[in-house]
């Protein structure tokens, strides 16, 4: 704490009064609360506005964030949101994301501490995307949109400050990746030819939901020549079928983000998400012998992969154990024949889909065999 600072009030969150004339941006840097970029100094008014958007009750505990297991109350969430530059209207998305990340199947404790580079990817569906001005279009993974940037940043600040995942201390990632600053997009439902992702999973179109996946960075898939689904999807299969992404050796889940042109070309042939997932799963993967260099370093079993995989040299090794473990989204600008493959961390973490406000899937859509119709 800065010399001369005085405690202003008792409570769980220590608010103090720094010496007159203190440069607050530098003060927050000095405390070690920053992700590397300047923080927006919170004020009582800004913190109160976010808490009001969450329903008040500053000390209500939302979750505990591993590996430090700090208590995330509404007030602490609000402070981190303000520091990240969020507007109060983003609060329900950030709250839902933190509850999804701390759900047991996600294994945030492992995600935070692993030597792998995985970082939580957040994908938002539903009306809230437009209500708060999220970008689901051109340069969707890039810079330039306040909501995308600061929601992802607020999550990272909480993973650092509340979860204690400071690089080198509790976050042991060998390399990390740029998504550890912010990694948040929205699905482009307006230009997608398919039902929104959350509708496919039983939510109503008027619900809003967040999807979280422990993920590597996006890997671009270029295909400017194919005018049918197999041609486009074969390129994505190629991106999926490396021996060195973490899915290849650890299974689990991955995501595919179809660009608009690719998605529309595929849909024109009558293919649904269900068909896409199955094609990708069937035609991607590696030969077992390629994963382990033809046993140059001895015979390897790999206990992380499912027991039912054949451990034989010419056996096909799927990238993930099931077509349902390939999570297909549509996003990006309307021009450009690009998609992205996003490897996950592995079977050590399961993605989580959670509605804002915690509403359960309502089954409002007409869903048949994994495909839902509006």
């Amino acid at each position: 704490m800065s010399s001369g600072a005085k405690t202003a009030r008792a409570g769980v969150v220590a608010a103090v009064i720094p010496p007159a004339g203190t440069d607050l941006i530098e003060w927050y840097y000095a405390q070690g609360y920053s992700d590397g970029f300047p923080l927006v100094p919170p004020t009582p008014e800004k913190v109160a506005a976010v808490m009001a958007a969450l329903g008040g009750d500053a000390q209500q505990l939302l979750c505990r964030v591993p590996p430090r297991w700090g208590s995330l109350t509404r007030e602490v969430l609000a402070i981190n949101m303000v520091m990240a530059g969020c507007l109060p209207g983003y609060a329900p998305v950030v709250e839902a994301a933190m509850l999804a990340l701390t759900a047991q199947p996600f294994n945030l404790n492992g995600v935070q501490a692993t030597t792998h580079m995985a970082s939580p990817l957040l994908i938002v569906n539903g009306p809230v995307r437009n209500e708060i001005g999220m970008n689901s279009g051109c340069n969707v993974f890039g810079s330039g949109n306040r909501a995308n940037a600061t929601i992802g940043r607020a999550i990272r600040l909480m993973l650092l400050n509340v979860g204690g995942a400071w690089p080198g201390l509790l976050d042991k990632s060998t390399l990390g990746h740029p998504g550890k600053y912010t990694y948040c997009i929205a699905e482009n439902e307006e230009q997608s030819p398919f039902a929104p992702y959350h509708v496919e999973h039983g939510y109503k179109a008027e619900d809003s939901a967040v999807f979280v996946l422990a993920a590597e960075p996006p890997h671009s898939v270029t295909n400017h020549f194919a005018n049918d689904p197999p041609g486009i999807l074969d390129s994505i299969c190629s991106a999926m079928s490396t021996i060195c992404n973490n899915n290849a050796v650890s299974g689990g889940h991955c995501a595919v983000v179809l660009g608009i042109e690719h998605a529309q070309t595929i849909a024109k042939h009558g293919w649904k998400r269900h068909d896409i997932r199955h094609y990708l799963w069937t035609h991607s993967g590696n030969l077992w012998k390629d994963l382990y260099c033809n046993e140059r370093y001895g015979k390897i079993y790999n206990r992380t992969l499912p027991v039912w995989y054949k451990r034989e040299p010419d056996a096909r090794t799927p990238i993930v154990p099931s077509p349902d473990n390939i999570h297909v989204f549509v996003a990006g600008g309307e021009a450009g024949r690009f998609s992205a493959f996003i490897p996950g961390w592995g079977r050590m973490s399961s993605p989580v889909l959670r509605a804002l406000g915690g509403a359960p899937p309502a089954g409002g859509a007409n869903c048949v065999d994994g495909t839902c119709y509006l």
């Binding site: 600072a5 969150v13 608010a15 003060w27 405390q31 430090r68 700090g70 992380t304």
Partner: protein, 95 residues
């Protein structure tokens, strides 16, 4: 000058202090649990240590456990079994 407040964004940690288990003075006759984190080289290291220990000491029992995933906690059932039926436990990370 207007008063400026600054905030702590970390949230509190509610934890109960736990003391260390009593130190073991004699290994012979004890029941040893070995917990393998299931990483690539963990079993090689732990089995080597197990063999070395068994050459030097006469255990009442030596039982080997493997975590389901190296990145997740041991299951509550595994931990309960180790606590209930063993006197000492050995674990390691073999990356």
């Amino acid at each position: 000058m207007q008063t400026q407040l600054v905030y702590d964004p970390r949230g509190i940690v509610e934890a109960q202090a736990m003391g260390l288990a009593p130190r073991i003075r004699k290994i012979d006759g004890l029941r040893l649990a070995i917990l393998d984190n299931s990483k690539w080289n963990c079993n090689k290291m732990l089995r080597g240590v197990r063999d070395e220990l068994q050459n030097k000491h006469k255990f009442a029992a030596v039982n080997y456990f493997t975590k389901d995933s190296f990145s997740s906690n041991a299951t509550p059932e595994q931990i309960a079994e180790i606590v209930a039926n063993h006197d000492i436990a050995l674990t390691a990370i073999g990356d």
